[in-house]
């Protein structure tokens, strides 16, 4: 196991990308299926409901559309382009990586059947997700989304696909039969995947550099102080960018940290990390992107410090 730092770096970057790619691909596939087979009307009906109802549906949608943060951004972009209101789409984007059966089960296993950790994790994700959705709920789609990368040099014709071709070319956005739509699903899946893989790779490079080249010794210095432990694990969650399906096991291993700090790690990571930040900045325009990045971090910091100071969870 004697490996040079660069070998470790290469192996960690590769393993992060290889681990996350199937989930990113699943998100891209889901996004493509929505684009090709689901008519816009089915989803735009959501917009006729009030903002609280939209947010509520977004928060629990992860239970029936399991996804991790690696794949949730392209799905969200697709949902928004399909006419799903921002209140529902944004709350889904931030909550679904945690509020889904796979992640909740992983948390339960990692914390040895401690339902309090599972419940607190879900609750602490829902609060900032709802807050961000409330802030962005009234935003028009045109003020929310950037054109996709592949279309950066093309006119914004309102099409949110990532196909990257000239829109003068024939390209159906309506409903297709299953077999007829299959090639289009594959094409969109691949291109959507490539769009997001750029940011996954960038995040993996940063996380790999952090793990391979920075010393681990600073962890022990901050674990005994709540005011340092919470922001330290929030920073760690952002830097190491571990998938929400796996991060509970890492958090469980950091047993020297107080539980509020572990909850900060478990709740911020799926909403904000090095692979999500550039994805947010590329999908959303500047102001909504800043809201999506800063509001969850601030909310989680305040909530976790409060939990620690009041002794609700130790």
């Amino acid at each position: 196991m004697d490996q040079s730092a660069f070998s470790i770096f290469a192996a960690i970057v590769s393993s992060i990308v290889l681990e996350a790619s199937p989930f990113l691909l699943l998100g891209s596939l889901l996004s493509a299926v929505l684009a090709v087979y689901v008519g816009d009307g089915a989803l735009t009906r959501l917009s006729r409901r009030g903002l609280p109802a939209q947010i509520g549906m977004g928060l629990v949608a992860g239970l029936i559309l399991p996804t991790c943060e690696c794949g949730v951004v392209p799905v969200t972009r697709r949902l928004l382009n399909k006419g799903v209101p921002p209140g529902a789409a944004v709350s889904f984007m931030l909550a679904a990586p945690v509020v889904n059966p796979v992640c909740l089960a992983a948390t339960w296993v990692a914390f040895q059947g401690d339902w309090r950790m599972v419940a607190w994790r879900a609750a602490l994700v829902m609060v900032p997700a709802a807050a961000v959705a409330w802030v962005l709920g009234g935003t028009q789609r045109a003020d929310l989304l950037r054109p996709t990368l592949a279309m950066a040099n093309q006119s914004d014709n309102g099409c949110g696909c990532a196909c990257g071709h000239e829109h003068e070319a024939q390209h159906d956005h309506g409903r297709h039969g299953f077999l007829r739509g299959l090639p289009e699903v594959l094409r969109l899946t691949g291109l959507e995947f490539l769009d997001m893989a750029l940011f996954l790779i960038a995040g993996a490079l940063a996380a790999g550099a952090f793990k391979a080249f920075l010393p681990q010794s600073w962890l022990g210095l901050v674990s005994g102080n709540l005011w340092l432990a919470v922001p330290a694990l929030m920073l760690l969650a952002v830097l190491i960018s571990i998938c929400s399906e796996a991060d509970a096991f890492v958090a469980a291993s950091l047993s020297m940290f107080p539980r509020p700090a572990l909850l900060a790690f478990l709740t911020l990571g799926p909403m904000l990390d090095l692979k999500l930040m550039p994805a947010f900045l590329s999908v959303f325009k500047r102001r909504p992107a800043l809201v999506v990045i800063t509001l969850p971090a601030l909310t989680i910091f305040v909530l976790c410090i409060s939990l620690g100071l009041t002794g609700v969870i130790r």
């Binding site: 192996a11 970057v13 040099n153 691949g190 490539l194 681990q216 291993s253």
Partner: protein
């Protein structure tokens, strides 16, 4: 065929090819990544990157990426090469180069010492590999003492949970790590890297270990592989602060030395080394994953 027709035909073909080139490059990126994932999933080196239980998932994703590459490769649509497209193609190509390098390093590290062989050949049973060396006897008896075989991570997890029902006498395999400041107190470290999902979330779990009469801990060298038959004892008094003297990470995993317990080695055997230095399976009751 006249010269002008030939010229027009060539120009038309070239223009068509050039217009479809960005789409084809996207297709090549998808095909390259998909083929790499599929090949790695079938390789005996997969465990160097991810828990082998995910090999089928990687294989399926690789196959799906290859399928997704077909439409842009075979029926490219005209489009311009934008900076964004070029960036993602460049990043993916760079990642593939890095991943191939990591694969090569893993192959060289896994090769027999001194051979320098690079043999990433497909393994027929990649997913089952970590359990391939399960011993016949999970309850060996040494010196009339019955031991329970388990792996170091299983022991660590039970202790970390505060459980008291871990085996009183156990046998485990581990790599030896020597640290001068611990050696002064008669200790070595026993370590195993536990991989839950992938190398990025791996943990380098360690126990302070001390020998007793007849145990050969003092003669062990850094990097030796041993099977240790022993028991757990609480770290007390001056020894309680020793875990803090343990060296930090030298590998991919987050290094954690158990802060409360040490292994008291009753019998030590040098072994050739585990076929798979990483641990991928953790059970909390017998039969343990070993």
């Amino acid at each position: 065929m006249s010269a002008s027709t030939l010229h027009d035909g060539r120009t038309g073909w070239y223009a068509s090819f050039r217009a479809g080139l960005p789409d084809r490059l996207d297709g090549l990126c998808l095909l390259g990544l998909g083929a790499f994932m599929a090949a790695l999933a079938r390789s005996r080196l997969y465990w160097n990157f991810l828990n082998p239980k995910f090999s089928h998932l990687t294989l399926t994703a690789g196959a799906l990426l290859c399928l997704a590459a077909l439409p842009p490769l075979l029926r490219p649509r005209p489009g311009r090469e934008t900076p964004g497209r070029l960036a993602r193609q460049t990043f993916l190509a760079l990642f593939l180069a890095l991943a191939v390098l990591a694969w090569r390093d893993a192959a060289l590290e896994s090769a027999p010492s001194g051979s320098g062989a690079f043999d990433p050949a497909p393994h027929a049973d990649a997913a089952a590999a970590p359990n391939a060396d399960v011993p016949v006897d999970l309850n060996p008896v040494v010196g009339n003492v019955p031991y329970v075989r388990l792996n170091l991570a299983e022991l660590y997890i039970m202790v970390d949970k505060g459980r008291k029902d871990y085996p009183a006498h156990f046998a485990l395999r581990a790599e030896v790590m020597r640290a001068p400041r611990l050696g002064e107190h008669g200790y070595v470290l026993l370590r195993r890297v536990a991989v839950v999902c992938c190398l990025a979330d791996s943990l380098d779990l360690r126990f302070l270990t001390r020998g007793q009469a007849g145990a050969e801990v003092d003669t062990l060298k850094d990097g030796d592989w041993v099977e240790v038959y022993g028991r757990l004892e609480a770290l007390k008094g001056a020894d309680a602060g020793l875990p803090k003297l343990a060296p930090r990470g030298e590998g991919p995993g987050l290094a954690i030395t158990n802060p409360k317990f040490r292994i008291q080695a009753e019998h030590v055997e040098r072994i050739k080394g585990a076929d798979f230095p990483y641990l991928f399976e953790f059970r909390e009751k017998e039969p343990f994953a070993w």
